[in-house]
Symmetry: C2
Subunit: 245 residues, 2 copies
DNA sequence: CTTTTTGAATGGTTAAACCATTATTATGGT
DNA sequence: ACCATAATAATGGTTTAACCATTCAAAAAG
């Protein structure tokens, strides 16, 4: 953990003082004057630097914290630490939009379908022989779990395959999108406590066919199967939901 | 604008009091006890309701504001108004991730390409004859602007076509994704001050071919052309960027 | 009836103090 | 010397009470 950093902050003037302070600290973080892991000075010190009251400074820190730019810890040696910009905020905001009815679960499932298809397509184009080998190992592992009837282990591997394909696709935004969507739809999928042997075999076949298509350099085919794969989840989910009414 | 609403708030206890207050108000908004347009009581009143200090309450309000759940206005009749959950927060967060280097412009361009393709595909499947007619009108309008050499007007219509197709696709998440990505990439596209007559004709042809594919019920073809359409922007953008180095 | 003035309601800010949590340091027993 | 415990200090969390700044509406002036 790095020590405090001097960042040449300036005194404020605008309408909402705390906003001005937010802007200054955010700018320092985004232009790498402050880097992930750096600690901001203690509140009582920052207060003097900006020449504002502690209350106003704390409003600024709340905003930065909510933006995901800093993380605040208690006690001696605590304080505000600069964070890596991650997906938590995207995930949370999307979750808010779902809960507030702005988005439907169906929308998200359909979106996920397209995203996973595109990832499969890009991954097929960009996969190296080593990448394919990794996927083959995972799928072989999944085959073993399937023959053992180990549902939980199979689902873990299924997820690992999706994650690995995201890496191979080589586009961070697709990876984030897949993760955010998955995190927000997981609680609906989790109603699949009746994940039977037959379903497991269906899904295993999907994985095998996707990797085969990647080996054969058939991006369109890989995308098609990946979409179908997600589609199967979506259909079950929607059927369950309609039964719940 | 609705009046104040009674929402049965409870007194607090947790570690971070302001977080507990955030949770309670957020819950009231998400379960529709508080609806968009409703005003929260004034700070001095909320303060008493929760039995906390005004400073702590204001930290809560800052967080809710940053989440996009409320909007705060000054002066008599001002206060905290419940907001519709929109895309501003997604747009801002994505912007932060770009600026902090977590995402590259190339990633976003490629993502946009896939999104617009999927929208074109879905829109083709779901378009009614009336929808097609609207698109035809827009494209005809674009043709006129092209023949007049009216670049700005053409770009406005191009955007309107994309927006309309998003509506036809019927998936709010795809629409949001397209908007968020577009908002974050616009400043890079805006370097196209050299949008020539030839480019305009190229793009007009794309639009005409997309609508044709939709009429012919060819979702794959529509998606392919839409992707190509975006791809053309991306290539120019990347070429510009590399020249800038 | 229109314009101007005034006042009240509301968010924005300050100040100084105290509380709660945590890591470090000092203490004391073995 | 070592380990467990207690004291200490640094830091964020909270409270209180006051005052400032902005806005809208009602009262006053013309």
């Amino acid at each position: 953990m790095a020590l405090k950093v001097k960042a040449d902050f300036q005194k404020v003037k605008k309408n909402r003082i705390f906003q001005d302070v937010v802007d200054q600290i955010q700018e320092a973080i985004l232009n790498r004057t402050l880097r992930p892991g750096d600690m901001l000075p203690p509140e009582r010190e920052l207060r003097e630097t900006f020449n504002i009251s502690r209350g106003t400074l704390r409003e600024s820190l709340r905003v930065l914290e909510q933006k995901g730019l800093i993380e605040i810890r208690l006690g001696t040696g605590g304080g505000a630490m600069v964070k890596n910009a991650g997906t938590e905020q995207l995930t949370e905001t999307l979750g808010l939009m779902i809960r507030s009815g702005t988005l439907s679960v169906q929308d998200i499932g359909e979106f996920r379908q397209g995203i996973e298809g595109q990832i499969a397509r890009l991954a097929t184009r960009r996969a190296t022989p080593e990448d394919i080998a990794i996927l083959e190992d995972l799928v072989e592992n999944a085959r073993v779990k399937t023959s053992q009837g180990a549902v939980e282990a199979f689902l873990d591997i299924d997820q690992a395959v999706h994650k690995e394909m995201g890496r191979i696709a080589g586009n961070a935004l697709y990876q984030y999108a897949a993760q955010v969507v998955h995190d927000n739809i997981r609680k609906y999928y989790d109603n699949f406590l009746d994940f039977t042997q037959k379903r497991m075999e269906e899904n295993l076949l999907d994985l095998q066919r996707i990797v085969k298509a990647m080996q054969d350099q058939q991006p369109r085919e890989a995308a098609r199967i990946a979409e179908q794969h997600v589609s199967r989840f979506n259909e079950r989910m929607l059927k369950k939901e309609s039964l719940g009414h």
